[in-house]
Subunit: 402 residues, 2 copies
């Protein structure tokens, strides 16, 4: 395995060097509306902008968010506001936000503010992870989702706001977490424990409700790491001619990517569902096409592309991989991250390498019920379609007119 | 003196509360081009966008910056690139940058990256202050300016880069500096000493060239505090209907302001020169109209509007003030900053108060030679013209059509 992909373009390596200098840190917890200016009554969803009405799970979550904001009093009234366009849905990543699965982000929700201590990357924002209960990301209807959302953004946020700035540098957490068996996407137990450690050390009551929730929420680190990935990838944007992938995500219908050389421009295709383990009683036909901004974790180089670090993930999902994670990361990712001195994990997905090896990146994704009734029905591996990579590279270097 | 201006609109107070929550900190020192995406061969200048060719001092500095970047080899070639539009000049504040006096900022120059630890304000960027020598802000020609610019952005930046993140919170420095006789604009000696203290404590060699430069540069804190003001004011932008002033600056020809309720929109008028002490041998007719983004310091509420804290400033410039600083700050500024527990300095300039009292804000400004031959020829007080405040308020609440 070459330490650095010597086949990559100079512009792609230049973008990689920018990415590799970013040092994301969790600066604060604040309402989204304090941080990001959105048009009135706008909700943010995962993936590229919607080309058609939202899928059922996203619609369920949008209704919950409308109720959370107090824009409507009943689910029916909330549905009506969304249906007639009074409440609009916009792509979170177009506003430097990241959203897991079928969640939606609204102005009153608390976001984890991730800044680059090195001063290069843009600030990125992620909602609090809802843990193992009735979390908004599952796309479910029902009052218990709204109650949990209120608790998470109310009492829980109040309890942790003061200790959040004491979080150690996020790359340190992720680097160590790989060493402890996380892939930082499908499995984030070690990263979540590290957060709890830091926050307890900073004064979070060990026996309080917030600490108990964190101890029971091995998924908690994921949203934060998604924002860190977005912050790092943003630093690579704008390097002319660079084929480094800076965004990858699904909206439950379409998937899209962006390149460093063409910042802000989505290249999309129809999304398939992840392939993997479906829970008993559910059918593969129930699976929603890929949804969530969490594919940013693999865009960086973690997740399924770092499955070799995570034995539990390999045990559960290795059979669904198109190749070994060792070979995938050596082929698709540019070089080891200089700050990850424990894991030496490779980072930086090169769209040109995707085409050279005819191997799209793989992503460890949760599988949701497409009808929005059963939430998470499994977990699997999703292979990105190759067409957006072809289209993006063609757009980067347009053919001269004949 | 009312602790809070009870005549202010609710929207203006809402914008003020946002401003007052920002906690600016110096995160890093990096080349501007790493942080801000500019079109190729673009230089950033102070004040609103230029409506005509740059004044002589700004043109001199632009030539120096072109040579610094290596875009031309001789001053004549640099002049030609600027004259034919191959090198463009753009307003720094439109890119979250701040520029003192006649300086210009170019992609290879190091900027102090000021982030909001509270997660609300946008990141702002300021060049390193050139101290008491042949600094770029003076608008002078000659090889010694270029040599100093290279030293400042080369060896000096290299020496301090590692200790910069150890800087204490910038509001703490400014609050204490007022107590120690600074106004944080015309006089920044105490603030500059505080920086040197923090950087020495973090390992900057006490007897090195960088520390000696800092000890001899009482102006050093100014650029950093301008970026802090920009970061704080940015958080107020976008509150509909708010009359809080979020930008004020001059470009050597025109002056301009912006309101929180109309973010990004400049309201301009012809600029007069500051009135004050002219050095022996120079004439008041030599004075360049107001130039520099440092009026952001008064936009926040420091500088001439806090002259009561700075006996040396009052001694030197009090005679040129239209009223006592005590009365000016009580009338024009909204309320004491909650984090400034030593000084209780008032912050938040209200355009509506400017009109109510028919009293434009005053700014402690350096006076430059308009021909760009003698640099700084004095220091004085500049009164902003009232017309932009009238125009901005009219634009905020347009009259209904008859």
């Amino acid at each position: 395995m070459n330490p650095i992909d010597t086949a990559a373009r100079p512009a792609t390596l230049a973008a990689w060097r920018r990415l590799a200098q970013v040092r994301p840190r969790l600066a604060a917890l604040r309402p989204l509306g304090d941080c990001v200016r959105l048009p009135a009554r706008t909700l943010l969803h995962a993936g590229p902008p919607l080309a058609r009405p939202p899928c059922a799970p996203m619609l369920n979550s949008a209704v919950q968010a409308v109720l959370f904001e107090g824009w409507a009093d009943t689910p029916e009234a909330a549905h009506a506001l969304i249906a007639d366009g009074s409440v609009r849905l916009a792509a979170a990543q177009d506003h430097d936000c990241v959203v897991p699965l079928a969640s939606v982000l609204s102005p009153g929700q608390q976001v984890q503010v991730v800044q680059d201590a090195s001063g290069m990357g843009r600030t990125a924002y992620a909602p609090l992870n809802g843990g193992s209960g009735p979390a908004l990301r599952l796309g479910l209807p029902g009052p218990q989702v709204l109650a949990h959302l209120r608790w998470l953004n109310g009492p829980f946020a109040h309890a942790v706001r003061g200790v959040v700035p004491a979080t150690r540098p996020l790359l340190s957490i992720a680097d160590l977490a790989l060493h402890q068996g996380d892939d930082c996407h499908g499995r984030t137990a070690a990263g979540s424990r590290a957060l709890l450690e830091d926050w307890r050390a900073a004064g979070l009551a060990a026996d309080g409700e917030a600490a108990r929730f964190l101890a029971d929420s091995p998924s908690f680190f994921l949203n934060l790491w998604m924002a860190a990935a977005k912050c790092m990838l943003s630093a690579a944007e704008g390097v002319a001619g660079s084929t480094l992938v800076t965004a990858m995500a699904g909206n439950g219908s379409q998937t899209g990517i962006q390149l460093a050389g063409l910042p802000g421009r989505w290249f999309t295709a129809a999304a398939a569902a992840p392939v993997g383990r479906i829970e008993p009683g559910r059918d593969v036909g129930d699976a929603l096409p890929a949804i969530g901004d969490s594919a940013l974790v693999e865009t960086l180089g973690f997740g399924a592309l770092a499955m070799q670090y995570a034995p539990a993930q390999r045990e559960a999902l290795g059979a669904y991989m198109p190749d070994t994670p060792e070979r995938l990361c050596a082929r698709l990712l540019l070089a080891p991250h200089p700050a990850c001195t424990v894991s030496h994990v490779r980072v930086g997905l090169d769209a040109e390498a995707v085409l050279r090896h005819a191997q799209p990146p793989v992503v460890a994704l949760g599988i949701l019920d497409r009808k929005g009734m059963h939430g998470r029905i499994g977990g699997g591996i999703w292979q990105a379609p190759i067409a957006p990579f072809q289209a993006a590279l063609a757009a980067l270097a347009p053919q001269p007119a004949p």
